[in-house]
Amino acid sequence: MELSWWAHLWSVLPEIVLVLAAALMMAVDAWLPEGRKRELGYWAIGGLAAALTVTAVQAAQLAGGIAVPYEAFGGSVRADLAAMLFRVIFLLAGILTVAISMDFRPLRQSGEYYILLLISVLGMGLMGAAVNLVMLYLALETVGIALYLLAGYLRDTPRSAEAGLKYFLFGVFSSTIMLYGLALIYGFTGEIAYARIAQALAGLPAPAVMAALLLILVGFGFKVSAVPFHFWTPDVYEGAPTPVTAFISVASKAAGFAVLIRAMIEAFPTAQANWVAIMAALAFVTMTVGNLLAIPQRNLKRLLAYSSIAQAGYILIGIAAASPLGVAASIFYLGIYTLMNIAAFAVAVIMTNVTGSEEIRDLAGLSRRSPGLALAMLAALLSLGGIPPLVGFFAKLLVFAAAIESGLLWLAIAGVLNAMVAFYYYIMVARAMYVDRSPEEEKPVWISRPARFTLWFTVAGVLLLTVLVYPLYLLAQMAAQAF
């Protein structure tokens, strides 16, 4: 089918908006006087919001059947509901991240920071849409390089520099290993498009496919910080500027899952028995290790790092289920997780601005110092922990249900046990806020307006989605049908 040039452009319209916004910001950055650099944040939000609007319209068209899914640019990207929904997640995460970055003290205001953020969102959008190996790799690298730079952005602070370097080294290494896998696949099949790879792989010996699959999973595992590819996570999360940590923990992870889901389902359907076993094992190890290692953490960012590893484990359960329900559950989970985790990190950003530290004990007395902030954190933590009736509970319910449906009962049980463990350390944080006392609790907490927006948006989102669980689930289900 010959596509019109407009159809080609339509498939990547959000990315086009983002590139234009980034280019515009470079010009604005050059002309804006030194004292007004903070306004760049609003420019960035404007660009991301424009892309979000476009994406939302496109998603509505696809969901409403006005537009049909298709592949553009010689089978490089697909425009379908899943790609659009993932874009919504990335763009939302981007907007919220910019909002908490704007008044984050250690970051000197500069255009490059926002431009890198915009470009990484762009890359993620393409990761979610990529349906051939070349596009996949390019999108992964675009995201990767932007994020390495963002993690090491505060290069004068040794921690951030270390985080950047560590992230870079781990990232380059895992992407190289993944490249071996991609090369093997191309060598075996002579194809780069997922659908054709799937056909060609059918006639191949299982060990060959397995070798390639394992190598590729190293790269994906790094992106979603699944155990055993998680070693970078705590150090990078701790060292990177907190807003960047928030962004990496949600957007980069969601992007990793986007490519993981698409590649597994579209390129490796013949090896499904293999990858289901691998995913189930990964899910089990990831959530268990993440939760157990989260318990002794005293640093809020490290705690959230291990918590995010554990969350990746839950999401992997949905993929291990390898069913429409499982995929829908994973997408659902990712959407919710984005809101919850950014809310938690927003509190971390605000507290770092006030106390200059990221220790959990410095949250002491927060419920008296700033009841609203404490409540927001509590909502985020309880939802992350999966306490009913908050929406996080439904997310967990869905992945566990998907596991049971696919005959992975043991995995569901392990998940439930893990959720209980996780509950312990989330409550520890809540205890610091509500029970512990601190001599500083009379001092008010300053919350900048953009950060306040992020808090309101995320907490309201969590609460609203608690009510609107069913429509969200339906949306996730429709997206899952795209595969």
């Binding site: 640019f73 390089i145 932007a146 060959a208």
Partner: protein, 170 residues
């Protein structure tokens, strides 16, 4: 026949230079072995009837990337890699894993050579600069443009990381 001899000869050189690159303890020598390796790979491309790719390989990898490598190594005076690092235990491990990789690949190829047959000869103007340019700017224009974005942010990043931070708190 001649082509086969050339292939095995070059393959031998390629493997030898790649090994030498890893084994040698002097960073400058490593870099030079890599250059040699890249040039040999370029000759492979020539043998495969893709002179355009071969020339680009030499100009970009051997000529531009590796020169910068060498430049940085020399600027930093980082050519001496410490002889006794704490990574000694990795040598046998790397050897074992490498052997496993070769073994695995051989196994996969020998077990089912039919499934791994060559993909057939490429279309006739394959590797022709005009054809490549045409494909890059029409069918694959998106990956092409994304590459430019990728390089742009890499450059921005290099500037961000390298520029003077100026007085603190600015």
């Amino acid at each position: 026949m001649g082509e086969l001899i050339a292939f095995y000869l070059l393959a031998g050189i390629a493997v030898a230079t790649a090994l030498a690159m890893v084994i040698t303890r002097n960073a400058v020598h490593s870099a030079l072995f890599l250059v040699l390796n890249l040039v040999v790979v370029a000759v492979f491309y020539l043998l495969l009837g893709a002179p355009f790719v071969a020339m680009v390989q030499i100009a970009v990898y051997a000529g531009a990337v590796m020169v910068l490598f060498l430049f940085v190594i020399m600027m930093l005076g980082a050519e001496r890699v410490g002889g006794t690092t704490g990574l000694r235990w990795q040598v046998p491990l790397a050897g074992a894993l490498g052997a496993a990789l070769i073994g695995g690949t051989l196994f996969a190829f020998l077990r089912a050579p039919a499934g791994l047959a060559p993909v057939g000869s490429p279309p006739v103007p394959f590797g022709d600069p005009a054809a490549i340019g045409e494909r890059l700017l029409t069918t694959y224009v998106l990956p092409f443009e994304i590459t430019s974005v990728l390089l742009l942010i890499a450059m921005i990043g290099a500037v961000v990381l390298a520029r003077d931070s100026g007085p603190e708190g600015k």
